[in-house]
Symmetry: C2
Subunit: 408 residues, 2 copies
Amino acid sequence: MTTSTPAPHATTLDEVLAIIHGAGGPLAAAPVPLAQALGRVLREAVVAPEDQPPFARSGVDGFAVRVDDTATEFQIVDFLRAGDWRPRPLAPGEAVRIGTGAALPADGLQVVMIEDTAMDGERVRVLQRDTVRHVRERGEDARRGQPLLAAPCRLSAGALGLLASLGVVAPSVARLPRVVHVATGNEIVPPEQTPAHGQIRDSNSTLIRAFLAARGVPVAQHRAPEEFAAAAALLRDPAGGAPAADLLLLSGGASVGEHDFTRRLLADLGFEILVSKAASRPGKPLIVARRGAALAFGLPGNPLAHYVCLHLFVQAALDAFAGLPAKSPFHPGVLAAELDNEGAARETLWPAHAAATDGTVALEPLRWISSGDLSSLGRANALIRVPGGAGRLARGTTVPFVSTVPPA
Amino acid sequence: MTTSTPAPHATTLDEVLAIIHGAGGPLAAAPVPLAQALGRVLREAVVAPEDQPPFARSGVDGFAVRVDDTATEFQIVDFLRAGDWRPRPLAPGEAVRIGTGAALPADGLQVVMIEDTAMDGERVRVLQRDTVRHVRERGEDARRGQPLLAAPCRLSAGALGLLASLGVVAPSVARLPRVVHVATGNEIVPPEQTPAHGQIRDSNSTLIRAFLAARGVPVAQHRAPEEFAAAAALLRDPAGGAPAADLLLLSGGASVGEHDFTRRLLADLGFEILVSKAASRPGKPLIVARRGAALAFGLPGNPLAHYVCLHLFVQAALDAFAGLPAKSPFHPGVLAAELDNEGAARETLWPAHAAATDGTVALEPLRWISSGDLSSLGRANALIRVPGGAGRLARGTTVPFVSTVPPA
């Protein structure tokens, strides 16, 4: 006579995050060209290699004259456009026509805007003149050695523009993790195939590929029947060792024994099981495992559980690999409608649509029925963290949430 | 004797946005595979093509018995795993072992969780039984025909998972715009080159490529000297017409006459000038032009002006091409520190770092000196809209801002 095996210890959400950050070490950093650096995590702080701007230049189109020259008519002795560099001292009564961005030919000059002048051949008359010098001084934006980008930080388009302006054309960034994904489950068919009664389409492979692509991470994807040997063979490299991956994602099927199957498979590959079950829902049958510097996740096959585990736990692994510090992904928001979690004893991650509206982040809880229910995910961009036993939370309640928008 | 030409009419920020949305029509939609659909804008609403889930299935591992069968011991007559489909009526005293996700063999059944049973060979004893059926009913997530994704909407990873689950493997999305970018300006050198005195590195080409890449849009980039013929030649297709682009971006140099140069170039290419100058700063010398369904932007060469014009105006053009409705990109946030805009008569877009902190969006204004100053852009993820003549805005003031994070 057999009864069910005792349930493994359930690990709380915060514990799971801490375990992932403790186990997933930073991957090595290497220089990459700017064209490949978008969204990558900078690992060496960048300081200004020279004064910014590196030379005093004109802020306007106009005429450069000596600050101490009170004449109203000047002889035009040169015309400097942006990119030109022809230094010369100016004598009283001399002016240099100068374009925006052009290097000033000497110190102690002021630029009179062209709108305030009248030009006649080689002479110019100043119609009005104020005390503004219209000069962008050398180093006024940043001094040589001044920190301009802290590390670690994710490189945005603006940050890449800044790096280009500094001549930092190969910033040192965390290398991308090598990710292998295997979808198991005899009940799944490819999305382009019509499922027979009792079968469902594999949505998790699409979800995982897109989740990773949105974070700039490629993935090698496989589909394995649930037989142990077939799945294990897929994951072994030709030399017979464990997969040459930094991150191994196993999408569970829903079948009986699937959870034990994934645990055995990971143990067989030499992984140490760190988490066997999560205390939060959806996504309770989560497995987290480690082998050296590599991490593996056994992700519960149900699509919404996948969505939650990816955005909370796999995101934490990506952050750890990138060398980003462990910090809570949760921020407070305000419920835009009642959230009815009546009857849920466990902590719940609830799909929501977050919008910055009246100065607060308003969270609209989206309808979902079960962890197999994907219907809310068309609009979801956040997950609300609802404590176990919270019951109904009124509109206007402040609640923690995690954004599911790719970090930028 | 010549004076400066009269300044062209300055168009307000809201007017510029409205002009762009009025001129930039939606590009055609076409089906793309799910693997290419991330971040693309869906153009046809998606409804459930069948009930979701399409069949009643077990929510747990356990034993299916008749709801009206009050026996405590049952004969096990089958074992159904997820993916199986073997319909059969159950007689009183009969149970079917069933896995999570497996199709129920008949109507009127309840699943007793395996934890509440004791199995002995071909018989199973129910240790405790409650009224929960543990059945995911056909159609409980969504009924056939129920709208699941509205159009237009940008496709997230979650939305793609939903589409895969529905078998919508080639959603209809807006085609990507063809974008051509030409950087002009004799003063610029490539970022990998050491500039001579008076020269600066071209950061705008990197910024534009990354801005577009973050939005999934490729770009053909060229660098042209400021000579009219050279720039025009770059932009003409072999047949002598205007460029076969939906979006033409011209990064101005800072030189004298550059603005007129861009206007003449666009006019020569058959574009109608819609905007000659923006009333806001940085980015005043903005040009917006149209030729048929194509849009062109003359972007002021200063890097911060580029950043502002890209995230406000070119973003609006991308949204219009994608078929997204015109709406204000501004949301309210709260100043996390004083913003000193003393002396600025014109409306200002101020680089800031936005963070969701205590339930509100806190905006930290970043230091910048001039429109050539990129130093703030390492951390910027927002632009605060500061009215002209606002002076100092106190910490805690609610202000409108636009996010510069790529839309997701």
